[in-house]
Amino acid sequence: LRIWGEQGQAALEKSSICLLNCGPTGSETLKNLVLGGVGSITVVDGSKVEVGDLGNNFMVDESSVGQSKAKTVCAFLQELNDAVKAKFIEECPEALIETNPSFFSQFTLVVATQLAEDSMIKLDRICREANVMLLFARSYGLAGFVRISVKEHVVIESKPDHFLDDLRLNNPWPELKSFAETIELNAADPVAHKHTPYVVILELLKAKMMSMDEDNYKEAVDASFKVFAPRGINAELQQIINDGCAEVDSSSSDFWVMVAALKDFIVHEGAGEAPLEGSIPDMTSSTEIYVNLQKIYQAKAEADFLVIEEKVRNILKKTGKDPHSIPKSVIKSFCKNARKLKVCRYRLVEDEFSNPSLSELQRYLSSPDYSFAAGFYILLRAADRFAANYKVIPGHFEGEIDEDIARLKSTAVALLNDLGCSGSPLNDDLVSEMWRYAASELHTVAAFVGGVASQEVIKLITKQFVPMSGTFIFNGIDHKSQLLSL
């Protein structure tokens, strides 16, 4: 019983993941993915197992001290799931990024852990160019960082938690109307009366007022807000069909071809509405009437689907592609999920780092709920700058605490200035914390960050559920972790 079903499982099994650095952050990410059933993994890490690693990494043990960490972690993961194809490369990821960028093209997705800013930027360019999905994850004391970097990720099966049923009571089609009219609500038979589904009741209620006593009538009243669900499509779907990619040509992906067909449907046959989803929620009713009502909804959904399918085939023909290159089942799923489509786009980290949304950054730094997360965001970058300048991690040495902290603070302030946020507050306690952590990798923080990272990887590969947008900052002090949209 998997939450992402058979198709999702198949996608995972076909995928090939590359992990950079297998400290606890990377190892825990990969552990969850291997348990999830990914097909193949390649672990890249140039370091040897040290005694200190025994205190934070479950995938190394005493017998492995002195050996290649990548090799050790790989062996453990293989034991976890013997079906996975596990390889290791004993090389420093930073060096690989410099000398062999084409190495990354072979993978479905790269999980890059514990990289500093300049390596992140280089790798990002490489993967974006090669169209390889990329996810960054990092643990630093009680702080953590997760960021997806993909040009565009589209989701048909977004499976949101709560979404209004597609009842169309505010805009019923002829068959639904006439079905409702065949039910005689005024009939004296009390049994028949209480077995009328609320959809029908609401339909008829719009014409006349009646008393409500039984469960089904109560349901009608409770559900009546659904009658007032706005007609037409929501703002998000509107944005998708207005997107430039909906103007399709021969290079367009299947998704955008279907969006183009959808757009045409909405404008014409749909009269402003998306295709009917076709399923209805359970409601108090006699079995017979409920099943008949279900059939009415299913028939309309099928009719809408056929119209869209025709449009898809025509567009494919027009753009010089095989009209049957998109399977029926895919178009059907697209129609069913039309109201819930998602398009996710991610800026290059370089762009975000050099040009973050100032208004958002300032808001985050001044908000009590966001200030620690935003502070950590800035300080992680400041720590990288510090290390690049002074050739040592802030806090590495026990002595010179005050001087070190002062230097870290001035580095952070300079960064804020560079970004145009010179007035923004920077929490001094947080600066001291950053010094205190000295780039340590704590197991529990790594496990949390690894959990988040692995979950997002699964969403990206199965193309189900909506991946996070923005940059995730883990805040292990008061757990007010946040997603920053910069």
Partner: protein, 449 residues
């Protein structure tokens, strides 16, 4: 200036938190090697549950400086556990989860000692739980959480000003997951709300109305529950349905299919049958990893003071993007479980039997078949028969005498209460005050001190 220690240490990363001072730390934080060594030597942590959460918790705690761990779980390993309970292998199927989990973690993390307990949590004496510094929960049932909560809160004592006495406060860290969602919370009895204070947080379980199942099924789930809840008893009177028995499951599936065909309802599959009957929401390794990590981190913070703690409830939802929210819930001062205890005033002449009868009639408690303990001593036990016989003679004695003739004290009672139409066994704390026997009564004072 001096550089970091030359001697390589396992504690290389943890040392940053434990040996260095900070400003965003716990009240009594004393950084230094002593703290690190004390965590290893003296702090004892109990993990309740060795399933998806429990396995992650043991690993996380073993790698967070704790060396004395114990784990309790009454289940054996099944094949379906293997995809997320990463400590278990195919050859472990059938063995007790607690034992295998303990063994595996000890194999990989040298120096940690984990004592497994293959039994129900109710099988342990209450004092067993008092031996631990912190209790961490990786459970999947409300009832089990309720039980441990009542046990831990039972240790809490209040002073004469009705303030909780800190040395009797037994922290609980509780985690739970369901699909992409989860929660982690810190319970400091007497200070934060306990599990019972916020029981309204749990949504009621989905139950189908009986008439729908019997007369007007509309969905596949209705057909399945009909076969499971109604048809099973009709056809197998006396034999209770066992969801882990594949023969039973197949029977329910076949019956559900027949009914579905009769009513023209599509969608009954074997997999759906299992899901509906076992009320399963598929578990995900990553959610378990996230929640356990949060719980283990909080455990480290509570034990060491190395950082501020979660205050006090974290909810997590990874369905659409990522949503993490921290809520500071407030204690219910009238809570039956973590409050100072329900006050019961009695005449010194009331017998133990009369007291037990009173509990049944009590307007709030409604506790029937009560067993009574006072400061660890059994005053009356309803079961087992040998204990019942031994304590039966106490029933006719005045409670005041049995409690050592003190004017007021705490009693613990266990019995059956009715919650949501279900009979559940529960543990309650009572504050007994004997009328007219207070140390500062008018009679005593009249004679001068």
């Amino acid at each position: 200036m001096a550089s970091s220690a030359v001697q390589p240490s396992r504690s290389r990363d943890l040392d940053k938190l434990l040996l260095r001072s900070g400003n965003l730390v716990g009240e009594n934080f004393e950084p230094g090697p002593q703290l690190r060594d004390d965590l290893r030597e003296y702090v004892r942590i109990l993990v309740v549950g060795a399933g998806g959460l429990g396995c992650e918790l043991l690993k996380d705690l073993a790698l967070s400086g704790f060396k004395n761990l114990e784990v309790i779980d009454m289940d054996r390993i099944e094949v379906t556990n293997l995809n997320r309970q990463f400590l278990f292998r195919l050859e472990d199927v059938g063995k007790p989860k607690a034992e295998v989990a303990a063994k595996r973690v000890m194999e990989r993390v040298s120096g940690v000692n984990i004592v497994p307990h293959f039994c129900r949590i109710e099988d342990k004496e209450i004092d067993f739980y008092n031996d631990f510094s912190i209790i961490v929960l990786g459970l999947d049932s409300i009832e089990a959480r309720s039980y441990i909560n009542a046990v831990a809160c039972g240790f809490l004592e209040y002073d004469s000003g009705d303030n909780p006495r800190e040395e009797t406060m037994k922290p609980i860290v509780d985690g739970g997951t369901e699909g992409f969602k989860g929660h982690a919370r810190v319970i400091l009895p007497g200070t934060t709300p306990c599990f019972e204070c916020t029981i309204w947080l749990f949504p009621p379980q989905v139950k189908f109305p009986l008439c729908t199942l019997a007369e007007t099924p509309r969905t596949a789930a209705h057909c399945i529950e009909y076969a499971h809840l109604i048809k099973w008893d009709e056809a197998h009177s006396g034999v209770s349905f066992d969801p882990d028995d594949p023969e039973h499951m197949k029977w329910v599936y076949d019956e559900a299919l027949k009914r579905a065909e009769l009513f023209g309802i599509p969608g009954v599959t074997y997999s759906l049958t299992q899901g509906v009957v076992k009320n399963i929401i598929p578990a995900i390794a990553s959610t378990n990893a996230i929640i356990s990590a949060a719980c283990a981190l909080e455990t480290l913070k509570i034990a060491s003071g190395c950082s501020k703690t979660l205050s006090n409830y974290l909810s997590y939802n990874g369905v659409e993007g990522l949503h993490i929210k921290v809520t500071e819930f407030e204690k219910d001062k009238d809570c039956l479980v973590c409050g100072p205890g329900i006050l019961i005033e009695l005449d010194a002449s009331v017998t133990l039997q009369k007291f037990i009868d009173l509990l049944d009639e009590h307007s709030v408690l409604h506790l029937s078949k009560a067993s009574v303990t006072h400061r660890g001593k059994n005053l009356y036990m309803q079961a087992p028969p040998v204990l019942e016989e031994m304590t039966r003679s106490n029933l006719s004695l005045p409670l005041f005498e049995l409690m050592g003739k003190v004017p007021k004290d705490i009693l613990h009672v266990t019995g059956i209460a009715i919650k949501d139409d279900k009979k559940t066994s529960c543990l309650r704390k009572l504050r007994i005050v004997f009328k007219g026997v207070d140390g500062v009564t008018d009679m005593d004072m009249a004679g001068g001190a």
